[in-house]
Symmetry: C2
Subunit: 140 residues, 2 copies
Amino acid sequence: MSFETDPRLLAHSVALAPMPLCDVRLQDDGRFAWLVLIPRVVGATELDDLSRDQRIALMDDVTRAAEMVRDLGRAMGRPVEKLNVAALGNVTAQLHVHVVGRRRDDPLWPDPIWGRGEALRLGEAELARLARGLEPSAGV
Amino acid sequence: MSFETDPRLLAHSVALAPMPLCDVRLQDDGRFAWLVLIPRVVGATELDDLSRDQRIALMDDVTRAAEMVRDLGRAMGRPVEKLNVAALGNVTAQLHVHVVGRRRDDPLWPDPIWGRGEALRLGEAELARLARGLEPSAGV
């Protein structure tokens, strides 16, 4: 069985450069600096479906994503004040990790973001601009 | 500065045996099999406040907690169907990781559990029974 990404994880997001374990998606939602990491492991739904080496690689990818989310917050003009990192999967079971930048003035603070409110679409041009800023070559 | 736990992380929970990096609290909420892990690292609020070795130790503790949450769900008569693992910290900034067992018939499914609904207190005797079942000597 080859690795496939659930289409629900592809919607309203764009791909960034892949990380060692994970595919990375920039979410199209101007409310938050928000990346989703998807480990390229067939059939994984829980963290402990990964081997220990894969879990360590995931933690390394999440740590890199945390830096990127802070860069993204600055590029959106809304520097991140708190990170929210979560592997939930109640709606889409395929293992994925949200790395979200939060601010005290964001529309859902201090509540979690999932399942609440409506996304604020950035539009293709702005999404492309933000994605370019996160490319490894961008030196952010 | 010595390590201290934010009192809000101590409320409505009981201590279980400490893990290599983290203190572990069993939450007093009959709606969910729910543990909170608190890395014993002074001043940490974000995952990347930890060293890489500490992050790996955290992932190991989370993996062990995932097994314990499944044991807990069985002991509560509500076997876990999906794990939710999250480091949020919007209300209590001190770094802590929730490991929560979810079921399709739980009162908040598929939404996240934080900031919604009222806890269902288990009572001291039931909380103590569940905590005993999670002791390393219990062989669960």
